[in-house]
Amino acid sequence: MKPVENKKPTREVKIVSRVLAVNERMAEQNRRRFGEKGVFVINVMSSPGSGKTTTLQKTLEAIMPEVKAAVIVGDVSTTHDADRLAVTGAPVVQVNTDAFGGDCHLAAHVIEKAAEDIDLDAIELLIVENVGNLVCPAEFDIGEDARVVVLSVTEGEDKPVKYPTMFRTCDAAILNKIDLLPYLDYDKQQAVAYIHQVNPGMPVFEVSARTGEGMQAWIGWLKEKMKDKKPNSKTKKKG
């Protein structure tokens, strides 16, 4: 007997796997390795032009040499950011994602490879400057301990509600370029309210990387986070 209306008969094979399972496994491997070495890893993300590189440059200048840090910088192309960060004296590894298919984000395997060029025994902080993009990097775990998103007052106040996944997966936000506020119609209260609408209680650091204003609070937060991780590593501390 023939079925009257028939979709082709098919056999269903159950899979049930995260599509990014490979990346997630690799990220866990990275996390274990960084943990063994006592290295705190921070994944810094933002839209292009938010002042991420300047913020990191000023951060490195402020914390080094007390904190031994290295940087992995992701860009689709050019080494401009790496050149700017290298001035601080921190070891910098540039990753150009065009070699990996022009990716819009850094994936865990890229970090694993880049980390081979860094002496993990000699550092305690690894800063990953992700590709400027508020969408894709949110989806890719790289084995980090904390995530920070940088936005600036020259962008729309509503960035957080336009990119909720990014803002929800981050542990802190840096609101940069506040030295420009007198020249803009930017509603800072509204921006912070939007951040908290998406991620209630998220620390927001209002800074000007250019003038240095507000940088201490952000750096203090970063150092606290690093301390929190220490129990797993060489320096034992009661949790």
Partner: protein
């Protein structure tokens, strides 16, 4: 934007899941679950999949995408609701301490392979 890479992952996982006795059969459909909070646009993914799947066992397969809503649970008062707007505070008690129960999925659920037993029609 990264849908091309995601499409490639889907093809890798799906290809590896074809049972050995069905290697020559056609994969008709790939069933996916994609949460509204995942950074994936279904239409872009379909477009990329079509391109990347050429010359693979997945060529011509349909991507059946079930989009899952964002469902939250309040850790303070246990209320559960579907989040439609990007507001992540509890509707009932205003707490910001939420657990996201669904909406972050990016899962491959199953593949459907043409049943070779079907000889009576001329279709492939």
């Amino acid at each position: 934007m990264h849908e091309m890479g995601i499409a490639q992952q889907i093809i890798d996982i799906a290809t590896a899941s074809i049972p050995p006795d069905m290697r020559s059969a056609r994969v008709e459909r790939v069933n996916l679950k994609i949460g509204k909070l995942s950074a994936v646009v279904p239409d872009s993914l379909r477009f990329c999949f079509e391109i990347v799947s050429q010359d693979t066992p997945l060529a011509g397969a349909e991507l059946a995408i079930e989009e899952t809503p964002v469902v939250a649970r309040c850790k303070d008062c246990d209320a559960r609701w579907t989040i439609a707007e990007p507001v992540f505070t509890c509707r009932t008690c205003n707490s910001g301490s939420l657990e996201i129960l669904s909406g972050r999925e990016l899962d491959i659920v199953s593949i459907e392979i043409a049943d070779e037993g079907d000889h009576e029609t001329g279709r492939e």
